[in-house]
Symmetry: D3
Subunit: 256 residues, 6 copies
């Protein structure tokens, strides 16, 4: 049975990126996966949160990366009220943890980068697209700091240590599928979000990355181990594809 | 002495519009005046606020239009924290009052239209551009309701009774000027925001509209009546120009 | 057609002042215009808000003036709930901006004066009476600091640089009128609040002051330029009258 | 050793009342005891709180009386910030409980009377003066309802069943004293607030009322039973005096 | 007429204590009086609240003791919502004041002890049991600091200067009774909570302590002085009994 | 290298249960795993949240189960402030989702069961112990409703459809380990929480359950698929052990 969108089980939605999007932030990306559209901006501010300050020498505090996730009132039919709720809190904690896995905070220094992920149009998979797009905004913000520039023959520091991508997989009436849209997500039996480091694509076969986060929920029936395994395979392949897109977009800003 | 931007004293910034912008809202406009960029969406929801309900027959309550104004965290250098403050409260009340002046609430019926004005990039004049752009989103949302359609030979009702545009004028070191950008606004002696109904452009001379709102503040020295008069002249001409743009964009959705 | 109160179109309501009103504040005035009654107090506290502090030498920070506006629960029929709302936020921002236009902050020094305007009985025109009365409380608070006293033959500094008065004008069924009470205000087509510096009264003709704030709203039909002009004339004359009252009350505390 | 004010140990401060004070509330009293000044207003609103509604017949719900206590920003040197705190919460619960003891809620019917007690100038004893003055405002609000009027020869119902007065007593360096001002209160070893029903004054000796509330606190050393007894004697005499004042002011509105 | 529980008028409920209860706090006591069960924990943190800091030498600030009172959601039928309300605010202020009367803050030094009183099962008398049990947790927390230890032959300081116990008394259909449970409390005419210092028990007769707090409320009819006297007698005897229990439990941690 | 606690890699902490714990809730369990101690209570209230109400016939709304997670102030050294934060919000959403997987809401009927999980002493693994213990409280609350009782020869409905248990696994310096305590958790490279349905224990080999939730986070280095597989094996075995304990405790209240 074909998916509602006609996609293959392991096929990502079409991705488009407008970069930069008009903004005062150092990094800003309008990213779309099918009809899901997010604005990801990355703003740099001096200093770090109080609990992060180096008491001995505040100027040498290690940096910090945090995220905020918000749904624009026009992102869903019926108008979404502004302001954080439990779901948004949970999601922005996931985004922040995931992006921090890509950063060398000693190299970033006494700065905070806040990645704001605003859903402009919601059609499923907003939290994983926020991570995939947020990474691009983060990379642009890091590049704007020019910390990686070698000076006097000494190589610059590397703030970004690896790339990060994320995708959702799930079990629908059509079986295990990749990158669910709302029509699929709202009826899925299982919903699994996977955040991985960038794997590599090669003619002789793709190499998947490693795990940053795995979050799976049985929305209907509990699921057995073989289903979990199949979902993890799909997600790994999806993240390899998303990483290839990030590598192409970022060019020499792509880490490694 | 020329303006920082090189514009003439009575010259508007260049206006561009992306319409629709990806959104689930009935009307959505990304509008730019120079480097000031706003997303204006207009969402329709059934029913009206409690104080507006017709006690005798709730289904026959008159409609309502309200607005929210928010600055995206990436809209200003240094990252703007989310959440309403006194300034935003004041601005969104102005936007709501202004747009309500264009609507026949009996014709709108038991519905609320919320116009969300999100500043994506702030370079002066955000509140007036929110009104000018918000009117376009409002007109699209009204059109989506299809209430104006004549059926059975009876002409449809007219929900929009007039058009609304707004612009800022001020006194800078270069004298009285129209449509200030941030470089001008931050050093202006006087800041005047004017909201007017749509005037008309004609070869034999423009006809300005009437006033919906006039809000002027002496940021530095108090200003005498002749200066106020000169500013009001500039603003009236500016609103005529903005109205011409709205008329062209909206075509037969433009009221009147 | 006569006004409901029997007043002439350009006639102010009767003004009465109890000064001081029992309070621990440095300035305190119970001011009435007809049945509208406000308590305006001005409290002096050491230091200024964080964003106002002079980083190089906090003790030499320039001063600050701010305002709070509140309606007492008993000020309106039906009991008004305590706590700020959007309207109060907008009004207290207006009062604060207006009163700051009268102050030399370098002369005030590292102090904050907070002008609290509490409406005890509301019958229209509360925001403008808050400014007119708040100026008197402010002048008394400034006088209590004794900063203007010449010592050793050196003239003292002048903290107050000018006087401020405010009044509302509007368009009712009786035409353009000054100083609307609630019966008029609630049915007015246009509502315009004007804040001006003190003009002067003289046998050979009054001289109006300059503008600090002009805030006009079409509550019903949009209004054309000639109506705006007529309203501005009425307001200027009204502010001259209010200033004369302030000058008499304050004696040598009146600036200039 | 004399008290700082020169008063006798059992002497009340001088009481003055302005009644009504300009207000839209049904009852409004500006009451002073020495330099402590409060505005007490009593507002009537239709209906009762949700938990108080008679489910079977909402229109026959028994009435309710509640209180709010607030310190005006100008009531203390240094400006008191607006908004409830723990102390205000505790005090307004005491005021509400005390005044409710005077009311027959079946006779009051489906109405809520809110007694707002705003401290305009604080010099000790604000909570007890709020009760003594709040009772007067409450009596005026009840009278405005005209529920007690006999019609058709049938005597009217009695909403007020008794009078209520309150006073503070304490132990200072001068021993047990009545009606402490701030100079005494701030250094008192014991602080006791007593709320009583109206006693009677007669040439052959006063008859004290009964207790509604007794709240005593050792601010310094714990106090033994004989001291408590002496304080209770002083308080009872004080409440008799306050009741005499209430009786004279209220005339035939005084219950009983 | 016997009490619902079959107890004598002056008989306390059975007291049981689990000490320590699993906790990271320095003192933790699960205390039961009949079916009323509270967990009282006392946590020590370095430093004192801002208003308590010694400006000249923060490290030599005097200590502080504060309390929080909360009802666990499962403590009452119908599930109690979490979060403070007016009643809890009033109660925790009483607990804090009462426990502070037992402490020499100079001896405690620059530390704050917070006594958390969580009602696990509510059957009347929670606020007084919180004080009686909170004192035990406080004593254990103080002992954990080891400040009283004599070193080098110099006797240690005494942080606890006296013991504190509390009990409720009231007037029910059975007359004046001690230590009311919910069945009695909910129908009591008078409710009086008394906090006293530790009295002593001896064969030749008990010696009651002195008063820290007396809080009495007429829930129904106002009560005359003789009733107050009888209630105070009952409470004094009850506190002597509770103190005996505290003395036995605390051993040489009991003050004096 | 042995674990700090001396446990084997796949060994659970010792579990103890006090049931019921004094409470007014229908189910109440004090559960300990090593030094981690939680109180789980399950309260039943009539009706369901507004969004859950059956509009056609409210009395036939399907039931609901929700959870709250709170850390008692004394649960950690340094005193944890009360009130929800982002972490608590995330955890209580997990607990609620997990427990709902065990319930047939049509059989539960128009009721809400709230499972409150209060951490009394925190030593790692609080969120998974909250689920394991919360299930027991939930089962007791369901049993108290007596809905499963066959009457008139008709077998009763089954509200609980399966059992739920949860455990944490992680990667420490000692490799993959089960049921981490704080000493392990705070230095773990990977932290994985797994919620599963009840598997079965049998002499011929255990049968693990299916997945309800899988939440894994790389706290340090990203982890490869084989590590994830090993962790999932450990977790499945752990949940089988926890289920055996639940089965023994609940007896015929255990579902299935």
């Amino acid at each position: 049975m074909p998916r509602p969108s006609g996609r293959e089980p392991g096929q990502l939605r079409e991705l488009t990126v407008q970069r930069p999007f008009p903004s005062a932030a150092a990094g800003s990306v309008l990213i779309s996966a099918g009809d899901t559209v997010l604005l990801c901006t990355a703003s740099v501010t001096e200093g770090v949160p109080p609990w992060r300050v180096n008491r001995d020498d505040p100027a040498r505090s290690k940096g910090w990366v945090t995220a905020e996730y918000a749904m624009h009132p026009g992102s869903t039919p019926g108008r979404k009220k502004r302001g954080p709720d439990g779901r948004a809190t949970e999601i922005q904690r996931l985004i922040g943890r995931s992006l921090r896995a890509a950063v060398d905070f000693a190299a970033l220094g006494n700065r905070t980068i806040t990645v704001d992920c605003d859903v402009m149009q919601a059609d499923g998979g907003t939290r994983t697209l926020a991570i995939t797009g947020g990474f691009i905004a983060l990379a642009d913000a890091v590049a704007s700091l020019d910390l990686d520039r070698p000076s006097n023959g000494v190589p610059g520091v590397k703030v970004l240590t690896r790339s990060i991508a994320a995708v959702s997989v799930g079990v629908t009436a059509e079986g295990c599928v990749l990158d669910l849209d709302y029509a699929e997500d709202s009826r899925a039996e299982v919903d699994l979000n996977v955040v991985m480091t960038g794997g590599t694509t090669a003619p002789e076969g793709d190499t998947p990355g490693d795990y940053i986060e795995v979050q799976g929920t049985a929305e209907g029936e509990p699921f057995p181990r073989p289903v979990l395994n199949e979902l993890l395979d799909l997600a790994a392949a999806g993240c390899v594809g998303l990483t290839a897109m990030q590598r192409e977009l970022l060019g020499d800003r792509f880490p490694g």
